[in-house]
């Protein structure tokens, strides 16, 4: 049984300007200990997918229209609130992009760090603090015994992200969802944080969902990658296959537009046009208007994610029909 099984997840936002279909039918599975990368541009629905699983979608305007997210036998979207609370924050933890805004500036690190323990475990404050101290040491904060009593503003960006990771991992979760955890950081600090996540994963044996727009970050970290476009998964494969033999035209185009993959002195490859407006109804493949290989069939019928070889699924109608 997979650790997490998401089926037909649809999260829409009902606003005055209409209904935005941020996530529009997402299916994926995650095994224990596996690292899954979710890649896509802004607005592709990668964050909303994970926020839906974590119950962090503001409702209204958001609404989960359909789907299930079964974590170890419990459907997080339809179970009793108490059941979900026992899982979220304890067995599934999340870290966010911006360590500047995701820590409470009024609370000492010690208090926010041990909060999950006090909520989820029968533990004395003293023991919780001891575990908090160990957690800070584990993520590489020097002088943790003193630093634990500081406030967030006394830490640098990279150090705050370490505190966030310590806080997320303090309950020893089975799944960590990391939403662009290194986007706000410098490359040298990003390298430190990625190494840290890898090391902690090895130690705890947890599964990781890593959301990013940076294909480079994914390539060294993830076992499997899925690419999202306009609220849907367009391609899913193991990391090596996805980088070396991508099939979906969007994945290929995305890969071709990375500067480091292209010869210097020539124009960079660009994807023409803009991502679609998700509040407008669309028929056919959402990428078709920007796709070099689009045919009439692409505009007529809705593509579905299907396996082309075991473990490699993609959602291009022409690839599925064997004409591309």
């Amino acid at each position: 049984m997979p650790l997490l099984d998401v089926t037909d997840l649809r999260t829409y936002f009902h606003t005055r300007d209409g209904v935005t279909r941020a996530v529009d039918g997402v299916d994926f599975r995650l095994e224990r200990g596996e690292t899954l990368g979710i890649v896509g541009e802004s607005g592709s629905g990668k964050s909303v997918t994970c926020y839906s699983i974590m119950g962090l979608i503001p409702q209204p305007p958001g609404r989960i229209e359909s789907g299930t997210a079964v974590f170890d036998g419990v459907d997080l979207l339809h179970c009793k609130p108490a059941q979900a609370r026992a899982i979220r924050g304890k067995r599934v933890a999340m870290i966010f992009q911006d360590p500047m805004t995701s820590l409470n500036p009024y609370m000492r690190i010690s208090d926010q760090l041990i909060e999950p323990l006090l909520i989820h475990e029968r533990i004395s404050r003293r023991d919780a603090l001891r575990r908090g101290l160990e957690a800070l040491e584990a993520v590489g904060i020097n002088d943790a015994a003193k630093r634990i009593h500081h406030h967030p503003h006394e830490f640098s960006g990279g150090m705050r992200q370490r505190v966030m990771i310590a806080m997320a991992l303090i309950t020893r979760p089975e799944l960590l969802i990391a939403d662009e955890p290194t986007t706000a950081l410098d490359v040298t600090v990003q390298a430190q944080i990625l190494e840290l996540i890898k090391a902690m994963q090895k130690e705890l044996g947890m599964a990781v969902i890593f959301i990013t727009h940076d294909l480079g970050v994914v390539s060294g970290l993830c076992d499997r990658v899925q690419v999202m476009y306009a609220g849907r998964i367009v391609e899913s494969a193991d990391t090596r296959t996805l980088f070396q033999a991508p099939r979906h035209p969007y994945t290929r185009a995305l890969q071709r537009s990375i500067p480091s993959m292209q010869p210097k002195g020539k124009d960079l490859y660009t994807i023409p046009g803009l991502p679609p407006d998700l509040s407008r109804p669309s028929i056919g493949c959402a990428f078709a208007p920007r796709c070099e290989s689009a045919a009439d069939t692409c505009l007529a019928s809705d593509p579905k994610l299907a396996e082309i070889v075991p473990g490699h699924a993609q959602a291009c109608l022409r690839v599925q029909a064997g004409t591309l």
Partner: protein, 332 residues
């Protein structure tokens, strides 16, 4: 591609520029408690039609340097020479004329355009302020600018919020081009954009430099972007240049220990390369510019540090076809 500024003529030259900010404490009686040396003795030149990339981590002073060159922040010392005119000693009027020849594009196209002005108003403002052409010619010139940056003139009556991030950055570039400058300073112009949009803006900037013989100072923290667009690259650490040379030399064969660490930290979009590589992971954060380390500022994180590194600030010296500021260069 022009790599030698001597051959092509230097357009912008900055010599020993320093920008220090006083740090004060106390409420009524302010007292000086320290100085942040954001930029501390930077010498650079940009040739005609050349793209100079400036890289470094946040807090290294690259944006402050750009703002100092534009005189948005007063320099503490040093000179900025634009087309043979010393801007550091200019009066207000000369400075205004200098600004015409040097324009800036900022990182965040959401914040750098006035939300209350239509695109037409935003683009015509510099033309009217600097009296570039008679008022009757303004509409034609504005339409021309729009076409230059790849936008349809029919968008002129729209407001910035009606555009996407990439389109806004095009408008910001059009505004910078309105006065036909010789130099554009672009401070992280693509950092806020998605990969596919980023490529469009990079292409536009390189085309403009090629066609209009425009010089570009391109500031970014993404080395692969800088390598692609730049002729030469300068690497900054804590207010100083630590390595300066041809873009491919510096990024493909870095010499300074800091540049090496920076290059090795970039994740590559190739799983095989990524799994094989040995990464130099720097320990800790960059030191505070308020209290910089003695001697070489990088010595606190450097793997090759020796006693003499702590003694004096290393000067830039020629090594392997570029300039490097490390006294142990060639020893490792």
């Amino acid at each position: 591609m022009n790599t030698d500024p001597a051959k092509t003529g230097t357009v912008l030259e900055i010599r020993d520029v320093r920008t220090h900010f006083p740090v004060t404490a106390g409420f009524l009686r302010k007292r000086l408690v320290g100085t942040v040396k954001a930029v501390d003795g930077v010498t650079l030149s940009v040739g005609r039609g050349e793209v100079l990339g400036l890289v470094g981590e946040s807090g290294c002073g690259k944006s402050t340097l750009a703002r100092t060159i534009m005189n948005l922040v007063p320099a503490t010392g040093g000179t900025v020479v634009l087309n043979g005119r010393n801007l550091s000693q200019s009066n207000a009027r000369e400075l205004r004329a200098g600004r015409r020849e040097m324009q800036m594009v900022f990182q965040d196209p959401y914040a750098s355009l006035n939300p209350r002005l239509t695109v037409f108003e935003a683009l015509s403002e510099p033309l009217l302020v600097h009296k570039v052409c008679p008022a009757s010619e303004v509409p034609a010139r504005v339409s021309g600018l729009m076409r230059t940056v790849g936008l349809a003139p029919r968008f002129l009556k729209k407001y910035p919020h009606e555009f996407s991030g990439g389109q806004r950055q095009r408008i910001a570039i059009a505004r910078a081009l309105a006065l036909e400058p010789r130099v554009i300073i672009a401070d992280e112009p693509v950092s806020a954009l998605d990969v596919s949009i980023q490529a469009q803006i990079l292409n536009l900037l390189s085309q403009l430099c090629g066609q209009m013989n425009l010089s570009l100072m391109f500031i970014a923290h993404d080395l692969s972007v800088v390598r692609h667009i730049s002729d030469r690259v300068a690497v900054m650490y804590l207010g100083r240049i630590v390595e300066l040379g041809g873009a491919e030399d510096v990024i493909d064969r870095p010499q300074h220990p800091y540049t090496r660490a920076l290059v090795s930290a970039i994740p590559t979009p190739d799983p095989d390369v990524e799994r094989r590589r040995q990464r130099i992971v720097l320990a800790g954060d960059p030191p505070s510019p308020l209290n910089p380390p003695r001697g070489c500022a990088f010595h606190t994180r450097c793997a090759h540090v020796r006693e003499q590194c702590r003694a004096a600030i290393p000067p830039l010296a020629v090594h392997a076809g570029r300039e490097v500021a490390c006294i142990r260069i060639g020893e490792f």
